[in-house]
Amino acid sequence: MAGAPLDLVQLSAGVVLAGAVLALWRRDLRALTSVLALQGCALATLAIVLAVHNGAVGLGVVAGVVLVAKGFVIPGLLARAVRAAPGSRETAPLVNVPASLVAAAVLVVLSYVVAGPLTALFPSPLTRLAPLGLATVLLGFFVLVTRRKAVSQIVGLLLVDNGVALVAFLLTAGVPLLVELGTSLDVLLVVVVLQVLATAMRARFGQFDLDQLRELHD
């Protein structure tokens, strides 16, 4: 693969990672949902380009599923939850934004170092992009750890999932349709469950902060 398709793939992968960094930077929860929608569209673009280039019908269907689920349905659901809640800002993250961005830089470097052996297995322009996916996974996990709001937690989880999907597309030229359908549905279900949880929490405690759930241990 070379030329315009490759550029498009590289651009999409870059957008996915940039979305993850944006999610760390922006504290407005509405902005986070737009970031997710952007990421979903970028992933779908990447999958479509790969499908057209390889002439794979199954991958094309997967791309469609990704576009619908990750580009529209899930961010839409999230946006609805955010609109319903009044205080829609991540006010006091456990790690502040500048420190988060520094940590993000460290994590991206780490993923490049770790993914070295992985790309060395089968060096190609596509596999060289795999560290971007790994970095997205790590950043998503970082969001999970450091952000307090329930919606931010969902966003973190979706970032991890997008990162995994990106790695899968880049390394294996697409996962089987059935697997992708399964994971998409899984993620959709998780989002719905978390949304219900968030609503219930707000009704009970008047806020989204997960640290209020401390009594639940043992």
Partner: protein, 672 residues
């Protein structure tokens, strides 16, 4: 043919477990126990053919277990254990029909007993490391579930199950390590390949394998100091399961030691077997002592299992030591005696546990101090319990006597061997026989005397009713076995001889001549219990007749009837009777340093004067000293670490996620 019968048995036991889990409540009990009993019969036929013909079978099924497949092989040693299990299993299945019937049987009870039975039948036939470990772990799992059957009725069961799970898991880990090490060095995982390689193993590797596996198997066998689970688990399990655990599962620990030590490693070194004998001596003494001091009838039986396994281990260790020293004939004799005692122990201890279950069902308690007078209320149970108790106390005419006599003869004939260490072990074995013989008799005089004779000590004992016929049939089968093997012990000799020949690398079979009695072929000594029994019967009949015909001449004017344990005085109330606690009291004083009883005496005085007590209550607990000394500190350290670790997770989701993230990043950094 033998393979078909054996596999039919395994399959039937599996079907029984499935039926027990799936059938509706009404049919569940019969649907599980009838196929279970048939499974035992089929397995008995299969293993009996192997034992009688001496021809073993082996087969390989590739599809069942990924990568390795399943290897099954039944040689006379394995067949002896399968046959013993089958007999105990037959009795337990029969007994379960009545035992479960007094209330709606739960799925756990009806499914786990046949499943446990199936795994017990499977273990001795496993012929590769993978098959053996799978069967071994399945046995641990099913027995744990069976043990937990009555956890809703008795919360202590959960505590017992935790101990059992911990000990059996640790033991299985040690066995797995040992066998994997063995397979790696022998260049194959099937037992045949390992056995073919046995001379070429380096000594340190062989020793490491033996010590690891022997410790693992000893924990299953309940040898001191690895016995701590046994006096907890055996009393808390439902009685058919207790009988299977004590009569069959514990044996498999001994089987494991014999299989690895003698068959796979080919005998090995002297010190291995001295170690086994030392474990045996400690178990026999400690178990017998605790049995004599216990007042809970099932706890008493459990400690007595520790005692008897100890005696068998003394025999196994002595046989191994003698064989390692080249004394072939005494080695064969001692091993034959040890295997004979193992079979006998399965019979009488199975019968005793089934009897204890009948007691518990009829009276709702296992505490001997609350029983009494049951011989009149439950005559058949009492008779069966008494036969087994006489048998375990090694009285002539019953099977316990035959095997203990043989074992003692073997130990004595082994003296003046080439190694002074072996001689010392044999001497210790003889001494422990003397001590445990007395202690066991005390324990069972107490169990029968206090439990069945005298007067009822509680309302429950006063109104007890005889249990169902199916339960009595189960116990009767085992008691019948005790009598047959006691009167004509010689019939077991050819079968045992085959097992010895298949096991002992350096030992000679044929140490005992086949016949009705026991006749040591090349050594001095013979007994014929049949003659003894005939003589005793004749003497009893003659004296009864003489007394009947000439009552005056014998000095008996008017026969005076009085209650047993009444000290000749009547009428007396149950409160003045001797209790289990008071019966064991002198012994407790003598062995106070080992038993360390905790007394708790509360005296309430009358308001008017301190000199007139109003009520006195006395409680006594005898905890396991080994558990307190050896396990207490370990558990304390683990609990401290646990408390320390609990400070980390404080309920914050972010902290949990952070720990996971930190672990992921650390692993990635480590990989990079």
């Amino acid at each position: 043919m033998s393979a078909t019968a054996y596999l039919t048995g395994l399959g039937a036991a599996g079907i029984a477990a499935v039926l027990g889990a799936l059938l509706p409540t009404r049919w569940r009990l019969l649907g599980a126990m009838v196929p279970g009993a048939l499974a035992c019969l089929a397995a008995l036929v299969g293993s009996g053919q192997v034992l009688l013909s001496g021809r073993s079978f082996s087969l390989h099924v590739a599809q069942v277990l990924p990568f390795t497949g399943i290897d099954l092989s039944l040689d006379p040693l394995g067949a002896l254990f399968v046959a013993t299990t089958a007999i105990v299993g037959l009795a337990a299945s029969c007994y379960s029909v009545g035992y479960g019937a007094h209330r709606a049987p739960g799925r756990t009870a009806t499914a786990t007993v046949p499943a446990f039975l199936a795994t017990l039948l499977l273990v001795p036939a496993a012929a590769s490391v993978a098959t053996f470990m799978v069967a071994w772990e399945l046995m641990a799992l099913t027995s744990l579930l069976a043990l937990l059957t009555e956890h809703r009725q008795r919360p202590e069961t959960r505590d017992a199950a935790q101990w059992y799970a911990g000990m059996t898991h640790a033991g299985a880990a040690a066995v797995l390590l040992g066998l994997v090490l063995l397979a790696a060095h022998a260049g194959g995982q099937s037992f045949a390949a390992i056995a073919a390689h046995r001379g070429r193993l380096s000594a340190p590797v062989a020793s490491a394998v033996f010590v690891l596996t022997a410790l693992g198997f000893a924990s299953k066998a309940g040898a001191v100091p690895l016995h701590v689970w046994l006096p907890r688990a055996h009393p808390e399990a439902p009685s058919p399961v207790s009988a299977l655990m004590s009569g069959a599962m514990v044996n498999l620990g001994v089987y494991g030691i014999l299989r690895t030590g003698q068959d796979l490693l080919g005998g090995g070194q002297l010190w291995w077997w001295l170690l086994v004998a030392a474990l045996g001596v400690a178990s026999a003494f400690f178990g017998a002592l605790h049995a004599a001091a216990s007042t809970d009838v099932k706890r008493l039986l459990a400690y007595s299992t520790v005692d008897n396994v100890g005696l068998v281990l003394v025999g196994v260790g002595a046989a191994g030591a003698l064989a390692a020293g080249g004394e072939r004939v005494p080695a064969g004799l001692v091993l034959l005696a040890a295997l004979f005692h193992l079979v006998n122990h399965a019979l009488f201890k199975g019968c005793l546990f089934l009897g204890a279950g009948a007691l518990q069902q009829a009276t709702g308690t296992r505490d001997l101090d609350r029983l009494g007078g049951l011989a009149r209320r439950m005559p058949v149970t009492a008779a069966l319990f008494a036969v087994a108790a006489l048998s375990i106390s090694a009285l002539p005419g019953l099977n316990g006597f035959a095997s203990e006599w043989l074992l003692l003869e073997g130990l004595l004939h082994g003296f003046a061997s080439r190694s002074s260490l072996t001689d010392a072990a044999l001497l210790a074995g003889v001494a422990v026989f003397a001590v445990t013989g007395g202690l066991t008799a005390t324990a069972f005089v107490k169990a029968v005397g206090v439990g069945f004779l005298g007067r009822a000590r509680s309302e429950a004992a006063r109104s007890a009713l005889e249990v169902r016929p199916s339960m009595l049939a189960g116990g009767g089968l085992l008691a019948g076995g005790c009598v047959v093997l006691g009167v004509v012990p010689g019939v077991a000799v050819p079968v045992l001889d085959r097992a010895v020949a298949a096991t002992l690398a350096g030992g000679a079979p044929g140490a005992v001549r086949a016949g009705l009695g026991l006749d040591l072929a090349s050594l001095d000594g013979a007994i014929a219990p049949a003659l003894l029994v005939e003589g005793l019967l004749a003497a009893a009949i003659v004296s009864w007749g003489v007394l009947r015909l000439f009552p005056r001449g014998a000095g008996l004017r008017r026969p005076r009837r009085s209650e047993a344990w009444g000290c000749g005085q009547e009428p007396q109330s149950a409160r003045t009777e001797i209790t289990a606690t008071s019966f064991a009291e002198p012994l407790q004083r003598v062995f106070a340093d080992v038993l360390r009883p905790d007394h708790d005496l509360e005296v309430t005085h009358a308001d008017e004067s301190r000199y007139f007590p109003e009520a006195i209550s006395f409680h006594q607990r005898i905890d396991d000293a080994v558990e307190r000394v050896a396990y207490g500190p370990v558990i304390g350290v683990v609990a401290r670490w646990g408390r320390l670790a609990r400070r980390g997770p404080n309920g914050s989701v972010h902290r949990y996620l952070g720990l996971g993230f930190a672990a992921l990043v650390l692993i990635l950094v480590f990989l990079a």
